[in-house]
Symmetry: C2
Subunit: 352 residues, 2 copies
């Protein structure tokens, strides 16, 4: 769900991408994004593409051909990042966990002993495909002790649960507008630490993507305002408004809301004899992997929820296909009314 005022922002008259009014708005987007990412990083701005473009931005700028990287894989998005990184010329060491479980610091420590000079260690903070939230602080410490950069996928976590870029020593991070920022999809907020930016600035080879080259983008999003590409103007209006709403609510209050809606859902599911199947103690608040009871047709259940009740839930992916449905409670959607509406619909569908 998207707030009405964000739809209003989307429909505001399109300005030129170098118009002084738009440039002023870009500054405000950067300032607000820094607050939401909890960072002082100067290089904090939205990439002109959806979340996967942010993933590619981080990989393309940091990786030079032949670089070694370590990537945690416990779902779709870690798997995807390995593919993206390899296309950038990286030698990838995968650290795998069963889908639905987190990546343990000990696993990263072991990988760091095997890989001589890793460029970065990457973790998907909130695995949207499984509902598991991997804690980052200990992994960050291990990564920096090994002299590597720390890269984080925060597509689903940003705005829904704590993401402390500076406090947790995150060097490169990307997100998406359409998850807990509750904005339509179309942009990927990113942030790079001084060390990550330095790595991109001192590369021996050009960044393989012109569109995503931070050395060029920084001249447009920085003080120079040199034309690079034409930014998606109206999507930036929408992000501006979405960030404003996040900050008006307050980060801590917003996180607390996501947490309490998760608990309300979990308790309601429990009363129906259902449970959230991702690893206990590490369950995402904003994306709930609900186990489908034996004998229930999962695709039929999702279709009925959509057609009869106007509620879209996600399918299980990969090894979880047919075994779970994924119930998002992100941003505007994380409300008591929606939890109750979903539980009532589910009760009807299950004939309980």
């Amino acid at each position: 769900m998207v707030s009405p005022s964000i739809y209003g922002a989307l429909a505001r008259p399109t300005l030129g991408h170098l118009d002084p009014e738009f440039v002023r708005m870009m500054e405000e987007v950067k300032v607000m994004l820094r607050q939401v990412f909890q960072t002082q990083n100067d290089m904090t701005f939205p990439i002109s593409g959806t979340g996967s473009a942010g993933m590619e931005f981080c990989c393309a700028n940091l990786i030079e051909p032949g670089d070694e990287v370590i990537i945690g894989v416990n779902g779709v998005f870690g798997t995807r990042m390995c593919d993206v990184a390899e296309r950038c010329g990286a030698k990838v060491t995968k650290v795998e966990a069963t889908w639905g479980r987190i990546i343990e610091p000990q696993q990263i420590a072991e990988a760091l002993q095997k890989v001589s000079k890793p460029k970065f260690v990457a973790i998907v903070h909130a695995e949207t495909s499984t509902g598991a939230l991997t804690p980052l602080e200990e992994i960050s410490r291990l990564t920096h002790d090994a002299g590597a950069l720390f890269l984080v996928d925060a597509v689903t976590s940003l705005g829904g649960c704590p993401v402390r870029v500076d406090a947790w020593g995150i060097d490169a991070i990307y997100s998406g507008t359409q998850k807990c920022l509750s904005c339509p999809p179309g942009l990927s907020p990113v942030s790079l630490s001084a060390n990550a930016l330095q790595a991109a600035r001192t590369r021996k080879t050009k960044v393989q993507s012109w569109y995503l080259d931070v050395n060029l983008l920084s001249s447009y999003w920085g003080q120079e305002r040199v034309y690079h590409h034409t930014a998606p103007i109206n999507m930036n209006y929408a992000l501006h408004e979405a960030l404003r709403l996040v900050l008006i609510e307050g980060l801590e209050a917003r996180f607390e809301r996501h947490q309490s809606m998760h608990h309300a859902l979990r308790d309601g599911l429990s009363a129906l004899g259902l449970e959230i199947v991702s690893q206990a103690g590490h369950q995402l608040w904003q994306l709930n992997a609900v186990g489908v009871p034996a004998g229930i047709d999962e695709a039929g259940l999702r279709k009925r929820l959509l057609v009869d009740f106007g509620i879209e839930v996600g399918a299980g992916l990969g090894p979880l296909k047919g075994k779970i449905i994924r119930v998002g409670l992100m941003g505007e959607t994380a409300s008591r009314g929606n939890v109750d509406r979903f539980l009532a619909a589910l009760r009807t569908c299950l004939g309980k």
Copy 2:
């Protein structure tokens, strides 16, 4: 300028990217894009980024490391394409013309004699930086005779003057939403011929960009509807409405409108003692490079037009900086009222 109904479309409620309603709309976008591109190409759809992402899409999918390509360079966008192609691993042969002039078929013929096995020849159809429109048919014939693919930048031409993909034998083409389609920026419509698609499908190496890999994108935009990335939903609503408006007006009527507004502007400028400086006989209708008279401060003129009259015109770029202003008459903006308003403002600014 963007039509009010397009703003209305932008603000429609966001659907899921695999929602049956959205999927049906995607089909209509493809059907309408084929009509606007004047092609039967199955692989005709919008890339989830702005025009430069379309350029990178074409280069990244067609080029394998070491491939030779020939690129016409007569302005900013030909120059940019050389950079993009080199980052994809191409050996680039530039065919250059003075900024403001077209690329001549004879120049391409000469380049084709020097380059043994070119993967493609690329031309910027309408050079937005200079206002020159390079004719494509003869160059297409030469390109195909040499066994190469023909790649065209139609960012500014599509929807404002004839772009006949099939009749002109164009194998790969990209455009932008924010020029003559008169939609906000955010998507890049592309089309690939069967031969271009075959080249992408039979590559020996993976496409270096995961986000732009047509082999993955075709599963989402094709019949399978396999999740790839999350499409910018609301921007697709806007493009859908923009294409509908183009087709309701009719391509030929729309081209004629752009042509007659160009003539009205040219005549009005002439009465002020000003002229359009791009190559005679090849001047774009939708982007007019107006020579700045000696003694006039070009930046001051643009600023006064913006601040006092609410009219944004473009600066000259590269060798044309300070020498021209670029007056767009694209899509909705190409109206008699706007031409008159601009001429009256210009007359005041010049003290005539």
